[in-house]
Symmetry: none
Subunit: 210 residues, 4 copies
DNA sequence: CATGAATGAGGTTTCATTCAT
DNA sequence: AATGAATGAAACCTCATTCAT
């Protein structure tokens, strides 16, 4: 990468970082392009050389987390299709859990930002992404039910319950109001909730995270 | 109530109602005082005779739900203190659940608004209220654990899991993406989650709601 | 008119006047709302209580001249329809000329502004108005030709020639590069052009203007 | 011309052409250097290697028409001074008309651009050029009057009338609202106007144009 | 020669809030 | 009690021009 590209990439990264910080701090609605640009060490106009506007920056910021997440789901879907036995299926499931937790840890603040803005009106696109997420989780649950891996029931309801529970736990952790003993404990807790709700009584070996 | 007070109360109510609608529709940040006042059939300036500003209106709007909710918790706390047997304890618990669901149904849109703005930065007071709510739920769970009503464990974690699960279910219902067969089914589902998470195996008679 | 309405009317008038001056001075494109508002003795925001934006102000400004002008043409059309003899027809024609000149004198600067912006791209609506004007003039000329009042020929061409000639004369007068002996001389010159182009050899009594 | 100069000239020409197109399309004020440079296949910065700025480009664009026009007038002036008989004078006059029409046809879009911007405030230099043009035409008319070629009168007024008439005709043709049967008809019409206004009754042979 | 990143002034518009009527 | 005119801060975005590479 030449000197120019390098510099450009650095500035773009600075904007993503400062934008994230400002969005988190004051909400997307009241964070201003001016502030963000200044925080990233550049003039207002320069901002527009890198992003089309505040919304585009926001999209890029959360894309850092959402894009790999969705890519991962594509991956999982393919693996599940290929899985022949319940054990293979379960393994896919577990690895997925571990990958989600790792992504969530890597993009801690982005996830927090997503929590912050998810139900607001500032960024309507988020609800769409959320819905897509729910659909994918539900279809995975349905698959697990169909293959007899878990207690049968309403896959949608169960998925929502699990999602809500983990969401809330994660949120409290991120906000600092819930302190777990070690980074991987969240995955463990998630697994517990999962097994309780889905009536999973298989022995589930713990997956090391981080 | 005299003619004057009556009129005043009517206008205040109109503002609360219009404010709620606008806040829901566009978010607190972008709803304008102008719109709200006009929607309530009065001029911009008049608005300020009833509320100190947009934030004050928002506080009043969500207070309609939160104040009775908190009052109810005061009530529950007192009753729990007075309960001598596990059965009495359970009964308090169940009545509480029913009252919460009824409150939530009565103030449907307010609750939706709270969901919308809860994690945003627009109204910082909300996080405080949320925290208070969590503390109360946790202490109730702790009490139930102490009295041997439910499986022992981390009361905080369990409470968060339950709260998160119910929250998410309720949210999907409110948003229209989850349709339940009858109004009371949410309470039933909540009970199921509760029993699964807390290992409650007592027979729980269904409580009629609404 | 109450004190309030009076004040409001005064401010609106001030904006029209200042707007006209600024538009003339720097062109519509580079005149700023800020300047105009300041020039009219009010804050930027106040401007928007009176007009929807710069374009709306411009429309209002030129409407002061164009609206009466078009109304006058409606009038003339009606009168021409009612005219039974060539002499009556001619009289209508002459009175029209006098009224146009008077309007032009009354709204001197507005007309100058119209000249300024007419062929530019800033205000596309102007070309439409201009076209309407041309059509009306053409149909009047056609009528005069049909009734044998003037030498027959291409009414459109003749009208354009006359319009262009008078336009240019008027423009030079307004800009200050052409000084006529007395206010009414423009009307006289216009009449001369008219008679030359249209081959009018009737005796045309001079119409006093102003 | 060396390879370098050739390339340079080609780029300059590209800028002139693209600039003309953009200026016509959106007006000088809102055409951006960015667009023009991009349209001419080069970067923003490169533009400034060829022109001092947007205004300089505009000057150069209209200079393409105005410079030959003025040079032609120098020419005409010299020829008129040398003309000894009225017939020679008239011939000069006619050739001039033909040359003007040809220039106008060659630089069609430039002339249209001049019409567009002439009375605006964007480019103050235009009014100066226009004034110079008027002075020259006037002095030619004066000369023709002095030599008894045309009916005597106010040379300035007559010149303006003729200029205005032709201007308007040409404008309507360029804008597409007036369609003439053949390219040269505009010259014929101009001649008619001229003869009517100046009382020219000499036989004027038609000059082939284009 | 050519580039395009950077700047920052400048423009339009919205809105919470105050205050004279 | 009610009004709505007035304010001015603040936000977004564009663009001519400069300058290091």
């Amino acid at each position: 990468m030449g000197r120019r590209e390098e510099n450009k990439a650095r500035k773009r990264a600075a904007l993503l970082q400062t934008g994230l910080a400002m969005f988190l701090d004051q909400g997307v609605a009241s964070a201003s392009v001016e502030q963000i640009a200044a925080g990233a060490g550049m003039a207002r106009g320069t901002f527009y050389l890198y992003f089309d506007g505040k919304d585009a920056l926001f999209e890029a910021v959360i894309g850092q987390f959402f894009d790999p997440l969705m890519a991962m789901f594509d991956d999982v879907e393919a693996q599940l299709d290929a899985a022949k036995t319940p054990e293979a299926c379960l393994q896919v499931y577990q690895i997925m859990a571990a990958r989600i937790v790792m992504l969530g840890m890597t993009w801690r603040d982005v996830v927090l930002l997503v929590f912050q803005e998810m139900r607001g009106q500032s960024v309507p696109g988020l609800r769409t992404r959320e819905r897509a997420l729910i659909e994918r989780i539900t279809s995975l649950t349905q698959l697990a039910m169909d293959r007899g891996l878990v207690r049968k029931g309403d896959a949608r309801l169960a998925s929502l319950v699990i999602l809500g529970a983990i969401e809330r736990l994660y949120y409290e952790v991120l906000v600092g109001d819930l302190t777990l003993k070690e980074p991987g404990e969240l995955a463990t807790e998630a697994t517990v909730v999962l097994s309780r709700i889905l009536g999973l009584d298989l022995e589930m070996p713990r997956i090391p995270v981080g």
